[in-house]
């Protein structure tokens, strides 16, 4: 791995369990600043849980998480959550219009998102400004995912945690979103961590890739590791996906 990039999020022996059930075991490793890291692994591997740790919605049982070399506990939770943006696979909406959802990060600061900005964001995520005043309960799953991505961008996070954000999108929309995220990565140097079940996507969009299984990180490295995994379990996982 190159050393020209600094780690922005670093895990040292992180454990997390729920009701005595281990969910993440001894996670050690780092996400490089300014890079796109893709995160793959079977269902239940603990990928989403890892994201919730990074956004500090939960805290580890043991081990430490460093953000830019400083323990995560030393940051104000609100500041941290704004800088480390999270778009979850569930794309939860608050009831009301698309605009209300896009403006939410601003509303929470006692401000309002200018309508023009909201429209621009909707164009960026290939939804279109016409959706601004639509009620979210009338949106399809894929459309909600787009709103959810746009909403996460409102805070201009330094790190974007994207959890299967293209899983219910058609091919064209998926490419639009990939291009958007790559553009944000290049233009603002935003660090991207992207969970995906699509190995082709993980390979094409990622600089680096983590493979997780059953609460452990099995293999990390440049994304082309997916072409030629060392670990036998990863080989089986990759082969299973191709079939």
């Amino acid at each position: 791995m190159t050393t020209t990039y600094e780690p922005i999020i670093q895990f040292n022996n992180v454990h997390f369990s729920d009701k005595g059930m281990p969910i993440l075991k001894n996670i050690t490793g780092s996400f490089q600043e300014g890079k796109i890291t893709t995160l793959v692994g079977p269902s239940g591997a603990g990928k989403t849980t890892l994201f919730r740790l990074c956004n500090r919605l939960i805290s580890p049982d043991s081990g430490e998480i460093l953000i830019k070399d400083k323990p995560i506990e030393q940051y104000d939770p609100i500041d941290l959550r704004r800088k480390i943006g999270l778009a979850l696979q569930s794309a939860t909406m608050i009831s009301g219009t698309v605009y209300k959802n896009l403006s939410l990060p601003m509303t929470l600061k006692g401000e309002e998102l200018p309508e023009e900005d909201a429209k621009e964001l909707l164009e960026d995520v290939a939804l279109g400004g016409a959706f601004l005043n639509r009620n979210v309960k009338d949106l399809s799953g894929g459309q909600k995912q787009k709103v959810s991505i746009a909403r996460t961008l409102v805070n201009h996070p330094k790190v974007l945690l994207l959890d299967e954000i293209t899983s219910s999108l058609d091919r064209v929309s998926q490419q639009d979103i990939e291009e958007l995220i790559q553009k944000i990565n290049q233009k603002y140097g935003t660090t991207i961590i992207w969970i995906t079940h699509n190995l082709e996507q993980a390979l094409s969009i990622g600089d680096n890739t983590w493979v997780m299984m059953a609460g452990e990180v099995i293999e990390t490295g440049r994304s082309d590791l997916l072409n030629n995994p060392r670990d036998e379990r990863v080989q089986r996982f990759v082969r299973g996906d191709m079939e």
């Binding site: 608050i94 990060p105 929470l108 996460t152």
Partner: protein, 253 residues
């Protein structure tokens, strides 16, 4: 009313018993328990009140109010076991509402400072506060659970716990107080309130009875809203820790 008349009034208990029996409704046991309990509890209260009124000792009034608050807490706390320290939050709410209402009533000389007024009015205030607490806790725990994703979404975007729980809190406060407000809109049109009916039967002037009933209605408006809001604001912080993380809702004890 004579004891014979009271005895004859048991006819009104036999009617549901017979109906339940013939139609196999299975309500007999609960009807009998309810009847026996109401006889014992009310007679006991009657004799206690007689004693308290006669003794004219302030300490007995306080004791009765403590008893009421204790019973109300015991009843309402079952609905809020998932909220940490709910017992003390309920006690604080009931004490606060009792002190607030009596301070206004006695402070402005609306009612005289005698057991005859303080005790029944306290009973109504604490009783209604308890009903409101139960309505609120039922709704709030349900809302919190149903809106867990929404709450975490707001936290994840940099919202405070208060912002994250706001919708659940306001919905529950509204839902629990609306019945009180709604029922006042139609009061007197269909049904005469129990207290007023009682006073009229006991021989009081109807207009006087109405005045008192109005006082009670207004009192209960305050009781309803203050109870829900106070309990809400005491309860929501226990759902989060100091890292602004949402705590897992505790399993029923």
């Amino acid at each position: 009313m004579s004891y014979l008349a009271l005895f004859l009034s048991l006819i009104f208990v036999f009617i549901p018993l017979i109906l339940s029996k013939t139609l196999h409704l299975g309500l007999e046991k609960d009807t009998i328990i309810a009847t026996v309990r109401s006889i014992i509890q009310l007679l006991a209260v009657g004799y206690v009140l007689q004693f308290v009124f006669a003794s004219e000792q302030f300490v007995f009034i306080i004791l009765m109010i403590i008893l009421m608050i204790g019973a109300a807490t015991q009843n309402a706390r079952k609905k809020g076991v998932t909220i940490k320290g709910i017992t003390w939050k309920l006690i604080a709410t009931f004490v606060f509402i009792e002190v607030l209402t009596q301070a206004i009533l006695l402070g402005f000389g609306i009612t005289p400072p005698t057991a005859q007024y303080i005790i029944p009015i306290s009973g109504m205030v604490v009783g209604n506060s308890m009903v409101l607490a139960i309505l609120f806790l039922n709704r709030f725990t349900a809302e919190v659970e149903a809106r867990q994703d929404e709450t975490e979404l707001i936290l994840s975007l940099g919202g405070t716990p208060k912002q994250a729980i706001h919708t659940s809190l306001v919905t529950s406060i509204k839902a629990s107080t609306i019945p009180t407000i709604e029922s006042q809109k139609t009061i007197g049109l269909v049904q005469l309130p129990g207290m007023m009916s009682g006073q009229i039967i006991a021989g009081a002037d109807p207009v006087q009875a109405v005045q008192f009933q109005l006082l009670i209605l207004f009192l209960l408006l305050t009781t309803a809203i203050v109870t829900s809001i106070m309990l809400g604001f005491l309860s929501y912080p226990t759902l989060f820790n100091d890292k602004m993380q949402m705590l897992k809702i505790r399993e029923e004890e």
